[in-house]
Subunit: 237 residues, 2 copies
């Protein structure tokens, strides 16, 4: 079956959420005269997100956008860190840090090459406005913006992967999920999608290793988006 | 209230459906050795579309993508024109003529200018894959692709306009519908959106006039997208 479209996980795969959120938190701290371990704060913010999504996936919480989940976690972390008296507008602005994540160095050029041969879309748990604002700021050249929000099913729910193929009007195997996270790729594979693992060893900061991947577990293993473009024959205009 | 995003009607407003579909039908006729009044055929194809959508809107038909509605109408028109024996793949390819519509001369430059100051999206009854394929072929620089398909409500259902604002996370008045069709704009206005009428006098071919619009009925009246960019102060990088 011919590959026709590529759907990209975003946080960690396309953008460096950790470095970007630390940058935003540091600026927030300077503006408000508070000093904390912002790297740890960023890691805790991110760590709160899978369990919060699971509360939505299991029905314990009603459907909520990631923006709202990020805000729930942020309010808790600020309280726990003893940071109070911050005007609500400033907390809301800090929460939108996730709209202002920076791409990895190869991202824009890699997507531009891949776009010549494939339809390229997001397939993220981030909400549509978050993904749209991020793309506009970072110059990500998506053909369209697809989010779990459109299906009201967060990945790894099967509905997100199949819903993406349905919107693009391609068979599941004609669509590849591109992601740095084996769990996401395994769920995509189980739904019938093609899979492309891209290593992002710096996602959790220096000194961590990229997740282990079994040989042959996924259809493609790439160093970065430029390597993926080479493997898929998408480098020439 | 500040304007933050622009949602564009597509067929007729962004692209010249009539000229493009006549071009596709003429090529189809030549390939299959049939000659008909292709301008009339294109007009009949388009004329079949509002009643077909109404059958979905009233619940007489289940939800169907525009691709499927276009195909229903096309099959009827081919039969009525006595054109038979065409392989199904060729009819499907002809049906995708609506994915290959050409932009008006000012469209790409106008959108590029407007994109500097606003989030720009489609808000079309065309399905996501149709809009995505069209944008890729024609170079339409959307920030995201929003379709009635995402809400399972065709315009002028209120859910389509409000759903677009909700996905973009803006208040209805912060979002302007840009359209060449007063009925679409009136429904958007009734849902609380800002409205921008753009005249497309050639939509129905030469010799037709653009629809009449009352003075003050809409927030902006523009000659084309470049004029709209000037009126909205979006011309400079």
């Amino acid at each position: 079956m011919t590959l026709r479209a590529l759907a990209f996980d975003v946080f960690g795969t396309v953008v460096d959420w950790r470095g970007s959120v630390i940058r935003e938190l540091t600026a927030f701290g300077e503006a408000h005269g508070v000093d904390r371990d912002w790297a740890q704060f960023a890691d805790d913010w991110r760590a709160g997100y899978p369990p919060a999504m699971d509360r939505v996936r299991t029905g314990e919480l009603p459907w909520m956008k990631i923006d709202a989940l990020h805000r729930l976690i942020l309010d808790e972390l600020l309280e726990r860190a003893g940071i109070d008296g911050i005007p609500d507008g400033d907390v809301a602005e800090l929460n939108r840090a996730w709209h202002r994540l920076d791409p990895w160095p190869d991202t824009v050029e890699g997507l531009t090459q891949l776009k010549r041969s494939f339809t390229i879309t997001t397939l993220s748990n981030g909400n549509v406005s978050l993904l749209t604002n991020m793309a506009k700021r970072a110059g990500l050249p998506w053909d369209c913006v697809i989010s779990a929000e459109l299906f009201r099913h967060y990945k790894p729910d099967r509905e997100a992967y199949l819903g993406c193929a349905e919107l693009l009007d391609v068979a599941p195997a004609e669509l590849a999920l591109v992601a740095a996270h084996p769990s996401d790729l395994r769920a995509a594979r189980d739904a019938g999608l093609t899979t492309a693992y891209v290593a992002r060893p710096l996602e959790r900061g220096p000194g961590h290793e990229a997740p282990r991947v079994e040989d042959g577990e996924f259809d493609y293993l790439a160093e970065d988006f430029l390597d993926l473009a080479r493997q898929l024959g998408a480098t020439t205009p």
